[in-house]
Symmetry: C2
Subunit: 624 residues, 2 copies
């Protein structure tokens, strides 16, 4: 099957993206709905299946084999070595014929004997293409970003152009091109029929050796910092008609369950294809199924905590001390509604949760202008739709599972028959110091951090900010905020395991409530007995050294445990409760216009305070 005969909307994945044996990988790719695969040679070498058996297994699974890869270091200034390399290639052509694939990826050489002279190099590539053509095969030549002499697509195209053979064309790889800052618009000058193959990968912007960057840190499109739509558009416009195929080398995905990775990968391609289809009239994509555009979000509707008999009262006490009132009880389920302003918390004593005494964020609900459409989009982007009985609501609330297992509900709180109608509800008078929900922070398993960012971006249409890193007392923490229309989620992940030696303070989640007066809110909360964290005097002495704050303000912040951050754009005042029964604590924050963070510089101080509270409760945990 010839990729050029297929519609460009076909979706593929290189087996190197997935963990496991070749058999594991093919099963995972097929289950996720991919149309084709690139067979990565080391996967084949370790497989007991003969190439003919692999061909049959792929056909039985609905997978085409779009590419065999990679063939390395073909060209050589040493004629004997070049002859040996051609002989090696003949072996691989035989394998390809048994596999039933017609295209092999040939990388630009990295060996010391690589050919620098473009005419000699073109002649050697032509000799290879000539041999391939005799078997009905063709060569897709790729410039590795670290190739000795050929390291840009402009150079590899020059070799292909001079080689001038119908079986010799280009493989374009978004990583190799974008990592070097090349302009993909130049692809428009290449005839479409010479674009034999296209490999797609995203990556974070890193200042490091490009080989190491490529081998460890590639990501699926939409997870990193590259503009993949701007890359793909000229490639399709130039006339590329082969599959959109992922090639991602990533330390996490190399060791994760390939069935899960393959779904994540599929979501990335569906979202990328949609973005390009929306931005340009690319003929190849107009027929592709495009999911409905994400309806606008309009803030947090509610956050649901799973509680039990021990943790429920503790959370309820804390909410009450923060000025919340219990305004309703679910008509049929053991779920209480607590409200203040538009901040709403559900305490669900009937939800499954991690263990006795524990509290965890079970669900977050966002206001959508069109909840059914939000749900339809989520389904189109491979989000697991949750059964209706998982959530607390009986109204027609659609929910999907986020990568960390949190349920995400799409709501219209103000709609007739909305979710509030499920509650026997007695709204209280306004006038509290808390006006709504500022953000929810969800600690992610490290393996699902990039998947989560893509999930919120693709499924909910949110905007991920760049990833930052916090040098926290118990290990580094990555932090990436996603925002949209008043919804703000802080996704965090611990590198390695983060302080398992200091249990009880790892990976907390929190709900942050908005106030316009953090000092007044802290004063009221303390007066009402809320378990507010005390913050060390050393912290306030340093605030004074850095900002020279007005002495009365500094004194009051210190007395109340209110922390302070400032950027050129604005300031942030915030305080936190202790961890309330396992994983969750509460925050109250005052954000000035322009301040876009969530007090990250203060996180280490807050974490150390959480550990102290924990040690006060369980002194046996102390080190030393």
């Amino acid at each position: 099957m010839h990729p050029a005969d297929e519609p460009a909307a076909r979706l593929g994945i290189a087996t190197v993206c997935l963990s496991g044996t070749l058999e594991d990988k093919l099963a995972a790719a097929a289950a996720a709905g991919f149309d084709g695969v690139e067979i990565f040679e080391p996967d084949l070498l370790a497989s007991p299946l003969s190439p003919a058996e692999i061909r049959r297994r792929c056909a039985d699974s609905g997978l085409s084999i779009d590419l065999y890869q990679p063939f390395r270091d073909l060209d050589s200034v040493d004629a004997d070595r070049f002859a040996a390399n051609l002989r090696r290639a003949e072996h691989k052509f035989a394998v390809m014929q048994q596999l039933g694939t017609d295209t092999v990826l040939v990388c630009s050489a990295v060996a010391p004997d690589a050919v620098a002279d473009l005419d000699l190099l073109a002649a050697q590539m032509r000799a290879l293409a000539e041999r391939a053509a005799r078997h009905g095969l063709r060569i897709a030549y790729e410039a590795l970003a670290w190739g000795t002499h050929i390291n840009t697509y402009e150079r590899s195209w020059e070799v292909v152009r001079r080689g001038d053979h119908p079986a010799l064309g280009l493989c374009l790889d978004s990583f190799h091109i974008l990592s070097r800052g090349s302009d993909p618009a130049g692809v428009l000058g290449i005839p479409g029929e010479k674009l034999f193959f296209l490999q797609l990968a995203d990556a974070p912007r890193l200042r490091m050796d490009v080989l190491q960057w490529s081998r460890h840190h590639r990501l699926f499109p939409g997870q990193g910092a590259f503009d993949l739509p701007a890359f793909l558009e000229p490639v399709l416009t130039a006339g590329y008609t082969g599959p959109l195929s992922l090639e991602v080398f990533n330390d996490v995905y190399r060791q994760s369950d390939p069935r899960r990775t393959a779904v994540d990968a599929m979501r990335s391609l569906l979202a990328l294809r949609e973005q390009v289809a929306r931005r340009a009239a690319v003929p190849a994509l107009t027929t592709a199924a495009v999911p409905p555009a994400p309806p606008a979000l309009a803030g947090h509707a509610f956050t649901e905590l799973a509680v039990d008999d021990t943790s429920g009262p503790r959370i309820a006490d804390a909410l009450r001390a923060l000025g919340f009132a219990r305004t309703g009880r679910h008509r049929t389920k053991p779920v209480d509604l607590w409200e203040q302003g538009t901040a709403r918390v559900l305490l669900n004593a009937g939800a499954p949760h991690p263990g006795a005494g524990n509290v965890a964020v079970a669900a977050l609900a966002v206001e959508s202008t069109d909840p059914p459409l939000s749900a339809a989009r989520a389904a189109a982007l491979c989000a697991p739709i949750l059964p209706r009985d998982r959530g607390p609501a009986e109204a027609d609330l659609a929910a999907v599972a986020a990568p960390d297992g949190t349920s995400v509900f799409f709501c219209r709180t103000d709609a007739t028959g909305g979710w509030l109608a499920d509650f026997d509800r007695t709204p209280t008078a306004d006038g509290g110091l808390i006006s709504g929900t500022d953000h929810v922070a969800l600690a992610q398993p490290y393996d699902h951090f990039d998947e989560a960012a893509l999930f919120y971006r693709a499924v909910l249409g949110m905007d991920p900010e760049p990833t930052s890193e916090i040098a926290a007392p118990f290990g580094l923490v990555r932090d990436r905020t996603v925002t949209s229309g008043g919804v703000r989620l802080a996704l965090t992940a611990s590198l390695l395991r983060r302080g398992e030696w200091a249990p009880g303070v790892s990976d907390p989640q929190h709900i942050a409530f908005a106030t316009s007066d953090a000092l007044a809110a802290a004063r009221a909360a303390r007066a009402a007995g809320a378990p507010i964290l005390d913050i060390p005097g050393n912290y306030y002495e340093d605030l004074d050294a850095r900002y020279g704050l007005e002495p009365d303000l500094l004194h009051e912040m210190r007395a109340l445990g209110v922390m302070y951050d400032r950027t050129p754009a604005g300031e942030y005042r915030h305080f936190a409760t202790e961890v309330l029964g396992g994983r969750v604590f509460l925050q109250v924050v005052q954000r000035s216009p322009g301040y876009e963070g969530h007090g990250e510089p203060d996180s280490p101080v807050r974490m150390a305070a959480h550990r102290r509270r924990r040690l006060e409760r369980s002194p046996a945990l102390a080190a030393g």
Copy 2:
């Protein structure tokens, strides 16, 4: 207490090296026997202890406070900002006086307003030193490798020289100097009294942004690629008399138990101090206690496997099929001795082990020319000495615990009354195909990988080779071999967790036996029913493509499951058994002179074969 009044052999550690709160860190540093600490400011800011209380806690723990750090971005082309920075410094001077420390680390500026003009910069540094001196304090100025204008020690020395103030001196940091490839010999031109402080860190050679390299990948001396002895010698020769103080930013140590990290750190300094004392007549070090030199090693004495009723017979069957004979039984313990040539395996049915049906390497024993001296050195380098009843032997065998918990015995097998005398032993005739033990591979917990390399290097005097990386089917595996006098250990570690989704094949250990004829050994082993792994035909087709091996040889290797690797220096033939009851498998290897690896390129093929065997036993584990 003034560092310059102390002998140079004092050992210190920056609190940033350790995980936890300041209280955790001080306790860990004191327990490991450090003389002093550098207080890292963020640790102080998060502590509820006032500076005076921290001073008392350190004094009570026997720790001096040698440095307060860091003070960033002092100098500025903006006069108002410089004035604000001086004001900020006065705040910190007050903190230092309460702490009772007299030296503050000032880093070269990285801000856009940093001063480029050396005379202006020197004047600003002098102004700071003048203020410090009024409080009896002094400034140790350090060139960050990524400082805007000052990024080498030669430049920072020029600033200090022009600043010309008694309270202004240098802080030298081995990372900042060696990461840029600067020659430390230039330090000899700096007056010793101007060397106010010395920070020590090692690192692997990485091609990446030096800031990220520094913040994530520093190591303790002896764990990385830097030549720390060659750095330290000129610093001491120049007249530095302050502490040898560690400053290591490392992702693993940031999140590991600080009590363990502090011992690892102490071992690194003891070994470094010893190396310098042995290589040069540095007056400051001649009085330092130096551990006894490591006695020469002379091969593997035995490897002990912990087995149970299920796994014991399975291992015994495999050994028998490989040509081993059961030659002895321990006089008092349920331990069998199996021998072939000088290869010896103890099967210990009485040792604690991980679980039913499991096998694990419980101990490795090395031939030492002076076992008691080996043990004395180990004790001097903080290795945990194991109680005598932990091992299988009753002879006077000294054993220490390696970082992964494996017992390491020091033996002289040929000595009168050696460990063999503990066995009722009937040696068999020679003539088997296996002549001895080639190597033992020990999968390390990722967190202890660098610690283990330093342990074998410092405690046993072994030579670590550079770390390599294997793209294994279930995740990346780091591999570092340590060798000495016929002892070869392959230390491996999985990045992240490596394929927990595919249980049963993660983190295996193996014993590799040496043969001079791998084909004959494989033939005999298969004939005797050894559970030898089958290797896919695709692997042999690729061998043919790459090496054009003689057809009969290729055919026989394929029939026998013998794998093949070749380097310019030599070749390697090897085969492996299936995993025998949990964690351990056996290998037989034929190594030509000059081949220094252990068949790493074949590891992925072997791992995939192990997974297949596992799935054949438990088909429910298959993906898909």
